[in-house]
């Protein structure tokens, strides 16, 4: 139990490091020195000190979006296990709770985007809704396959038994969850987090109007979501030492390694055309169905 | 060196030789020479009689002899017509593609003969498959000899559809191999036809049925059974006319031979009702579809191609009906169809050479311009529709008698309907080409040379003679083939 608290504390403290690592890797690939690893911490402190500007046409929904986003990210953290230690809360079927907590956060972000009444945010919200709808079957099917294989319905139970999963299934689900990670967190090849060109933004456009503390909440929630969805991917690695402290340490290192991999992916690919993204999500779905066949046979 | 091996080696050597000879006239004479040699060897084999114990790979049993006779008899006049056709072509500049050179064309023609002979003589399922695929590959360059949009389209469609069909037949091969692996007492799992028929009861029935379905679809594609016939009108209408004669008259028979052999296996295993129903179904559909499409044709070679589809349907119906009448009629019909279709395509080639158009509407008054061609056209029309005294009437009557004795009344009724449809279609299209006043732009036409019309006349006359009197040796050959199927 206390181990779970340790893990949550680590996550809260170290989550902003995740985007820092990704950006550093991207910068190094581009031949630049890059911003410091702790850049997001500095940004958060800076943003919290600033005042916020709200559009006169927005309502309470606009402020609620950022708050609920952070709240759901934090709650999702409570249900995900790390290597060797179970999550703080676990019940049978909690992967649904997890998936829909992330969905709720996304939903509130979309609502707050629509609330501004601007065309750009609406465009971003509709695209985000589309891709989220396409990625949901893959996510749930992948988790269901894992549940079927390990005969438990709880995320902790599933991931604790991951060394017993056959290698091809692990590989398929790894790729599936990797694609879903990139979709969920608006990374290349699904969306470019650096671009601010109107026609190409998906996630960035929804937070365009947030400023000051709201933006700080959103950025921090984004870092937490990176951590949480990264845990989904990293937990599949079938390696456990059995000792709690070492497992947590290695889990953190694995997450950092995954951040480096994401940075490499982002540096080596270009963003996909919008009408090719359903194909990518279709591939994720197909891979999860393949792993289903493997379990069924 | 047995006669069978000679029969194979002769066109193979001929093909390779012709590929390297650069002098056109020498090559064309070699073509006729090699086909004559093949014909003589075939007669020799027929006189010798069928081999009661054919080997594991190659052998000339009764079925092989009949189909060999058909193929060789057709190839000889066609090779004469082919040489004339090639001689008439204007010599162009250096051919742009490998398939546009005359040497490669002649080589492919003789290799085509080789692969057909191999298919007919093969006694092993795998070897038969190889040979049929080889016929597809060697005949594809023949179709697109003249570079044009339509010939390339026809050749590509032919190559792809037939290759996929034959891949289906390969699955059938595998299914048959699986069928042999169930009974532990069956130690020799060779796929020779005679061996399989001998041990038919030790094969797994479900897998034999699966094999038959795949063979029917696979070799049926090659044979031109509907609905797998879509390549046939294109390929047979765009190829040079002597090549069309070969494709219609010899190649379709080879594919039919494969289906016959599998049907024999199913009959030996006691599963013939399953296969006969399927054969009747595909046969009648081919006839009806051909009947429906033939009426709306605008090109006379395409019309002849649909007639081939119809006759292949008749052959399938004959095989699907048990009893001696139908089987004898089917074997006789294979011979007759080849003779008459060969004659018709060669005549069509003469018409194309004179009128320079493939459209039915633009060709009128053949009887006035070139009388012999016109007579051939009319007689061919009568023959292919089954009018006595041509032999097609005899074989079709025999098949229909067989249907009646086996009480397939619905099939008989549909067959008569389809024959009537085809007759209406052809009667609407063919006679008006021969009669009527010729158009003004056809004044200057080269005179008919005997060497041009002798091959189709020979084929047509043979059919006429066979309709009235069947020589004993031929009846023997056909009867032995029918007995081998029915036994």
């Amino acid at each position: 139990m206390s181990a779970s608290w340790v893990h949550i504390l680590f996550a809260l403290l170290l989550a902003p490091l995740f985007p820092g690592i990704i950006n550093r890797v991207k910068a190094r690939f581009a031949g630049r020195q890059g911003s410091p690893l702790f850049q997001l911490y500095f940004d958060l402190i800076k943003l919290l000190k600033k005042g916020a500007v709200f559009s006169s046409s927005s309502t309470w929904l606009f402020r609620a979006g950022s708050i609920v986003g952070l709240a759901t990210a934090f709650l999702a953290l409570l249900w995900v296990p790390a290597w060797g230690c179970t999550s703080l809360l676990q019940i049978q079927g909690d992967f649904f709770i997890f998936a829909y907590l992330l969905g709720l956060g996304r939903f509130m972000t979309m609502l707050s985007a629509l609330d501004t009444g601007s065309a750009f945010e609406g465009m971003g919200a509709s695209r985000e809704a589309f891709f989220a709808a396409l990625s949901e079957p893959a996510l749930l099917l992948g988790l269901a396959v894992l549940a079927r294989f390990t005969h438990t319905l709880s995320l902790s139970g599933i991931y604790l038994a991951s060394p017993t999963i056959p290698l091809p299934v692990t590989f398929f689900l790894f790729v599936t969850f990797a694609i879903l990670f990139l979709t969920e967190n608006a990374r290349i090849p699904v969306d470019d987090p650096n671009t601010h060109l109107e026609l190409t933004m998906i996630h960035e456009v929804m937070i365009l109007d947030h400023s000051g503390p709201d933006l700080a909440l959103i950025e921090y929630a984004g870092a937490l979501r990176l951590w949480v969805t990264g845990l989904l991917v990293v937990n599949l690695i079938p390696f456990r030492t059995g000792h709690l402290f070492y497992d947590l340490l290695l889990c953190g290192l694995a997450l950092a390694g995954w951040a480096v991999v994401v940075g490499i992916i982002e540096s080596s690919m270009a963003r996909l055309r919008l009408n090719h993204i359903p194909l990518l999500l279709g591939v994720a779905f197909v891979l999860s169905v393949l792993s289903l066949f493997w379990v069924v046979k | 060196m047995s006669t069978e091996q000679l029969l194979l080696i002769e066109p193979l050597i001929g093909g390779l030789l012709c590929g390297f000879i650069s002098k056109n006239t020498l090559r064309r004479s070699l073509l006729i020479l090699f086909s004559l040699g093949h014909f003589v060897l075939t007669l020799f084999c027929v006189v010798k009689g069928p081999d009661p114990h054919p080997g594991n790979l190659l052998g000339a049993d009764a079925l092989s002899l009949l189909f060999l006779l058909i193929t060789s008899t057709l190839f000889l006049p066609v090779s004469i017509a082919m040489s004339r056709y090639l001689a008439r072509q204007k010599t162009e500049e250096k051919p742009t593609s490998l398939f546009a050179s005359e040497a490669v064309f002649t080589a492919a023609l003789l290799l085509f003969l080789f692969s057909m002979t191999l298919a007919i003589l093969s006694q092993h399922i795998g070897l038969f498959w190889m040979a049929v695929e080889a016929t597809t590959l060697s005949s594809a360059p023949l179709i697109c000899y003249h570079r044009s949009a339509q010939t390339l389209e026809a050749a590509w469609k032919y190559l792809l559809i037939c290759s996929v069909g034959i891949a289906m037949a390969l699955i059938g091969n595998i299914a048959l191999m699986v069928a042999t692996s169930f009974d532990p007492a069956l130690t020799d799992t060779s796929l020779a036809f005679a061996h399989l028929i001998q041990h038919a009861h030790q094969l797994q029935p479900i897998w034999i049925k699966i094999a038959f379905v795949f063979f029917l679809i696979g070799y049926g594609t090659k044979m031109g059974l509907a609905p797998m016939h879509t390549w046939l009108p294109d390929a047979h209408s765009e190829a040079p006319s002597p090549v069309s004669a070969l494709l219609s008259g010899a190649l379709l028979n080879c594919a039919f031979l494969g289906i016959i052999r599998i049907q024999m296996l199913l009959r030996a295993a006691g599963l013939e009702h399953f296969s006969q129903e399927l054969l009747l179904f595909f046969g009648i559909s081919s006839m009806l579809i051909a009947g429906m499409f033939i009426i709306r044709q605008t090109g006379y070679k395409r019309m002849l191609a649909y007639s081939s589809v119809e006759h292949m349907g008749i052959l399938a119906v004959a095989l699907g009906c048990a009893g001696s009448f139908a089987t004898f009629g089917g074997m006789f019909h294979a011979l007759n169809h080849s003779l008459i279709k060969g004659s018709l395509f060669l005549t069509a080639g003469l018409i194309l050479h004179r009128y320079r158009t493939k459209n039915i509407d633009e060709v009128t008054g053949i009887l006035q311009r070139s009388p012999i061609t016109g007579v051939l056209w009319i007689l061919g029309f009568l023959a292919i529709c089954g009018v006595p005294p041509f032999s097609v009437f005899n074989s079709e009557m025999s098949i229909m008698t067989g249907l009646a004795t086996q009480h397939h009344w619905i099939i008989l009724g549909l067959m008569l309907l389809a024959l009537a449809l085809v007759f209406i279609g052809l009667a609407a299209l063919m006679p008006r080409m021969a009669y009527g006043t010729p158009q003004a732009n056809t004044e200057k036409m080269p005179p008919e040379k005997p060497i041009d019309w002798i091959p189709p006349v020979l084929l047509c006359a043979t059919s006429l003679v066979l309709g009235i009197w069947m020589p004993a040796f031929l009846r023997n050959v056909i009867q032995m083939a029918a007995d081998q199927i029915g036994s």
């Binding site: 279709g282 | 080889a134 570079r147």
Partner: protein
């Protein structure tokens, strides 16, 4: 374990071919698929292959993994366009049809009476799915070269079906089959080049002058 990985690789390659538009990727994938199949045949067998099986495997490997991609790339060199732009069956749809085919293959593999020497029913399902995917490529794509690659995939699937059902022909027959496929690809390649020269494109759906309906 290696057999599991190889089976997964074959499956993934099949699906990649269904979802990919780039012709170079297709050529490479079909060669890799043939190679994975041969390796699977070697590793699944209970004993080492004897000399004529080994010869057959070696010839198949040389032809399918080296010669055919070479021939296809030569045919590709003359064309300008290296992507399949507007297929008849879209890429996502092809992917899902491939999944359905795999499911159908699994269903068939469980229903059929399998011979006693069968290696693995799941591999039978994958062989059937590969055959079906070959069909999808032939029917649903427009460029002549993709149809040729579809034919190669079909032959790959049939080869896999052959060794999964533990059947074998005499060496000469198998070699003959390989020779036929080789000559077939050769002839298809020449025809493709001719079509490209004549029309300046390789889209077979534009070759539709000969029709009845």
């Amino acid at each position: 374990m290696i057999t599991q990985l190889l089976t997964a690789a074959i499956l993934l390659l099949t699906l990649q071919m269904l979802g990919s538009a780039r012709l170079g990727v297709l050529i490479r994938s079909v060669a890799l698929q043939a190679g994975a199949m041969i390796l699977l045949g070697i590793f699944s067998a209970h004993e080492l292959p004897n000399w004529h099986e080994g010869l057959l495997l070696l010839t198949t490997f040389l032809l399918k993994c080296l010669v055919f991609p070479l021939l296809l790339r030569r045919a590709l060199r003359e064309t300008v366009i290296h992507r399949e732009v507007e297929p008849l069956i879209g890429y996502t749809r092809s992917l899902f049809i491939g999944l359905v085919l795999l499911g159908a293959g699994l269903w068939i593999a469980t229903r059929l009476p399998l011979p006693p020497k069968t290696i693995n029913p799941f591999q039978l399902a994958i062989a059937l799915a590969t055959i079906g995917s070959g069909f999808i490529l032939i029917v649903g794509r427009v460029k002549a070269i993709t149809q040729t690659i579809g034919y190669l995939v079909l032959e790959n699937g049939i080869g896999m079906l052959g060794f999964v059902l533990a059947t074998g022909s005499p060496l000469i027959i198998e070699m003959g089959i390989l020779l036929d496929i080789f000559v077939g690809i050769f002839v298809m390649g020449i025809l493709m080049l001719d079509i490209n020269r004549e029309f300046d494109h390789m889209d077979t759906d534009k070759l539709s002058t000969l029709r009845d309906l």
